[in-house]
């Protein structure tokens, strides 16, 4: 029983991290129709920035804020300088471009921060919560993870649904020409989309790192599952991203615990194919499939 519960709970926490990562991908997809494979190394970079600050003796929260801010800047910068020229062009070229960025950022981090294990602190306790005699596999940091991802999702939904800027971003993503006619500064909106996405990605990076080891490749395992989670939910829906992340996190945790950890990626493939066979546009696909 305890094993079942703990497997479910760790899956849940892990799922939340996938969800945060998937959210970042969804944001970028919504704004620029680009799948950003460089998301993981971008988050790795900003986490290293936080680590440098924390190691210099400042508080965890200063590092945390710096990472998010760095994400914001990095996202905007990359969109402006590198991504802008391929927007609206061949989808494959954009994919290759972000893959190129992936490799470059990786190598840069290894040169700048060193290719070795460094431990990253967590702001809350890492001990599981005790209920009576049993400890359940949920600790302060896990709760922090779940809450922060839910808050971010809520904020994003609110942004898109209720604010002027959110509306403009949606317009810019939906049809640039029409948006321009309506006076939306499309370029700014796209930059904002990338900046926000990178911020969410940075959050995911810090959440994964908490209480664990970081090195230039520490985010790599999230690349695949985060992307699969986003696709599972339907790339246009923030809610879908979170749900996709949770489904994947919990079910993979059970596969790993009760079947065999070698089959985790295969299970991800099976789940994805099951969902996509029934709904080729993901769980939360918007009604008529858009032709790109």
């Amino acid at each position: 029983m305890q094993q079942f519960l703990n497997t479910a709970l760790t899956g849940l926490t892990l799922g939340m991290v996938y969800a945060a990562f998937a959210l970042a991908l969804v944001l970028i997809w919504r704004s620029t129709r680009v799948v950003n494979f460089a998301q993981a190394p971008m988050a790795m970079m900003t986490t290293f920035i936080a680590l440098v600050i924390i190691d210099a003796g400042y508080s965890y929260w200063l590092g945390f804020a710096a990472a998010l801010l760095a994400g914001l800047v990095l996202g905007a910068l990359l969109e402006r300088v590198v991504i802008r020229p391929v927007e609206g062009k061949s989808e494959i070229n954009a994919v290759i471009l972000t893959l190129g960025l992936f490799i470059v950022l990786h190598a840069l981090a290894a040169v700048v921060f060193g290719n070795r294990y460094r431990s990253f602190p967590a702001p809350f306790g890492l001990r599981g919560i005790e209920i009576g005699d049993t400890t359940i596999a949920l600790n302060g940091f896990g709760i922090f993870t779940i809450i922060s991802v839910l808050v971010v999702m809520g904020l994003l939904v609110a942004l898109f649904r209720y604010t002027d800027v959110g509306l403009k971003m949606r317009a810019a993503a939906f049809n640039q020409e029409v948006a321009r006619l309506l006076g939306v500064r499309v370029g700014h909106m796209l930059t904002l989309g990338w900046a926000l996405a990178a911020l969410v990605g940075s959050l995911a990076g810090i959440l994964i790192a908490g209480g664990s080891l970081v090195h230039p490749s520490y985010m790599d395992s999230v690349v695949v599952f985060g992307f699969v989670a986003a696709v599972l939910g339907g790339l246009d829906s923030p809610l879908g991203a979170v749900l996709g992340g949770l489904i994947l996190g919990v079910s993979l945790s059970f596969v790993s615990g009760y079947v065999g950890s070698q089959l985790v990626p295969l299970a991800a493939l099976v789940i994805l194919m099951l969902v996509l066979t029934l709904r080729p546009g993901g769980l939360f696909a918007q009604a008529p499939e858009r032709r790109v």
């Binding site: 997809w29 799948v35 590198v82 020229p85 391929v86 062009k89 061949s90 989808e91 494959i92 070229n93 994919v95 290759i96 471009l97 893959l99 190129g100 960025l101 992936f102 490799i103 470059v104 950022l105 990786h106 190598a107 840069l108 290894a110 040169v111 290719n115 690349v223 695949v224 992307f227 699969v228 986003a230 696709v231 599972l232 790339l235 065999g260 070698q262 089959l263 985790v264 990626p265 295969l266 991800a268 493939l269 994805l272 194919m273 996509l276 066979t277 080729p280 546009g281 993901g282 499939e289 032709r291 790109v292």
Partner: protein, 357 residues
């Protein structure tokens, strides 16, 4: 004579046949004149080239994005490894390649059927999951597939007739690495010949039509699903052949050889060379084979430590990818073609032969 050659050249098939013969001559000349070390590098280039050629058909010509071709190569390589467990195995190498192709073709058909309904990022996601799932299967079935350690591939002795033939033609002994390079490049020529014929024929026109405009293709009576699945099958078959050549070259089929990186490398090869062209795939493969060691050597010679020099290779390689997409989005071949076309319109009067080389 001239006119007969001209008529052979006039038919697509004949032209491809002549090109294949020419390529064969070039391959023999190159492989015979370079060192053993270069031969092993060229063998590596051959399997990357074969797989990239197959991916060109799928992604460049049919417009389906696959991030999972490394997994298909793994299936080809494991098939080859299972057929070559020790020195006494009596399966001829050509049969091994054919078996690898058939097994991968079967898997590719299933994947293609499942993938045919998916578009853009959804297809990317599914093939990405495939790329990481397949190595896991090899880990799970430890008994037959060797787990993390993988399966050893034991190459049989070089057949006597091949040794004799090589000595007769070139006057020097056939080394093992040269033999492997020949296997790779002969396979490459056959695969490219078949791919070129397929894609310039009726099937290829259907693939392109589906890529360019689905609605128009459907109106023209093309079965979208069939066109997609057939492209996937052809592409998977090529990946299977590539996997077999990889197994011959590396002499091992292990999960860690088929990570996501391999799949992404293939994709990079076809885009760098120029999407949709087989020669572009070959150039991309050449770039990916030779660039890393050249860059690392430059780094070491410039006095960098081994670790820094090793990081230099991915750094430069990533920068080249970014630069090609930003500065020459059509890839190397595409941009060359563009430049040639522009030059030709300027100097219409001069013979186009001068630009062919």
């Amino acid at each position: 004579m001239r006119s007969r050659l001209g008529s052979v050249w006039g038919s697509t098939l004949g032209r491809h046949l002549l090109l294949a013969m020419a390529a064969l001559v070039v391959v023999v000349l190159v492989l015979e004149s370079v060192s053993d070390y270069r031969n092993t590098q060229l063998a590596a280039m051959a399997y990357l080239g074969i797989a990239a050629g197959g991916l060109t058909v799928l992604t460049g010509i049919n417009g389906q994005l696959s991030l999972g071709h490394g997994a298909l190569m793994a299936i080809g390589a494991y098939t080859a490894a299972l057929l070559l467990p020790d020195r006494d195995s009596s399966v001829p190498l050509t049969a091994v390649i054919v078996a690898s192709v058939l097994v991968t073709l079967a898997v590719g058909t299933v994947v293609g059927l499942a993938a045919a309904r998916l578009h853009g990022p959804y297809l990317a996601g599914a093939t990405l999951a495939l790329a990481v799932a397949v190595p896991g299967i090899a880990l799970y079935f430890k008994e037959t597939l060797g787990g993390e350690q993988g399966l050893r591939v034991v190459m049989p002795d070089i057949p006597v007739w091949a040794l004799d033939l090589a000595f007769f033609v070139t006057g020097q002994d056939l080394t093992r690495s040269r033999f492997t390079a020949y296997l790779g490049w002969l396979t490459l020529i056959v695969v490219f010949f078949l791919l070129a014929n397929l894609s310039s024929g009726r099937v290829g026109r259907r693939w392109r039509a589906v890529r360019d405009d689905e609605v128009a293709a459907e109106l023209a009576g093309i079965d979208l699903g069939r066109a997609r699945v057939s492209a996937f099958m052809v592409s998977a078959a090529a990946a299977g052949a590539a996997g077999a050549v990889l197994a011959f070259t590396v002499k091992l089929a292990a999960p860690s050889a088929f990570t996501l990186t391999l799949s992404l490398t293939l994709l990079a090869a076809i885009v760098l060379g120029g999407l949709g062209s087989l020669s572009g795939a070959l150039i991309g493969a050449a770039l990916l084979t030779f660039l890393p060691s050249v860059v690392t050597d430059l780094g070491t010679n410039a006095g960098l430590s081994d670790i820094k020099a090793a990081e230099l290779a991915p750094l430069v390689y990533g920068l080249v990818m970014v630069a090609v997409i930003l500065l020459a989005p059509a890839g190397i071949i595409g941009s060359l073609r563009g430049a040639l076309a522009r030059r030709r319109t300027k100097t219409r009067s001069t013979s186009p032969k001068g630009t062919a080389a």
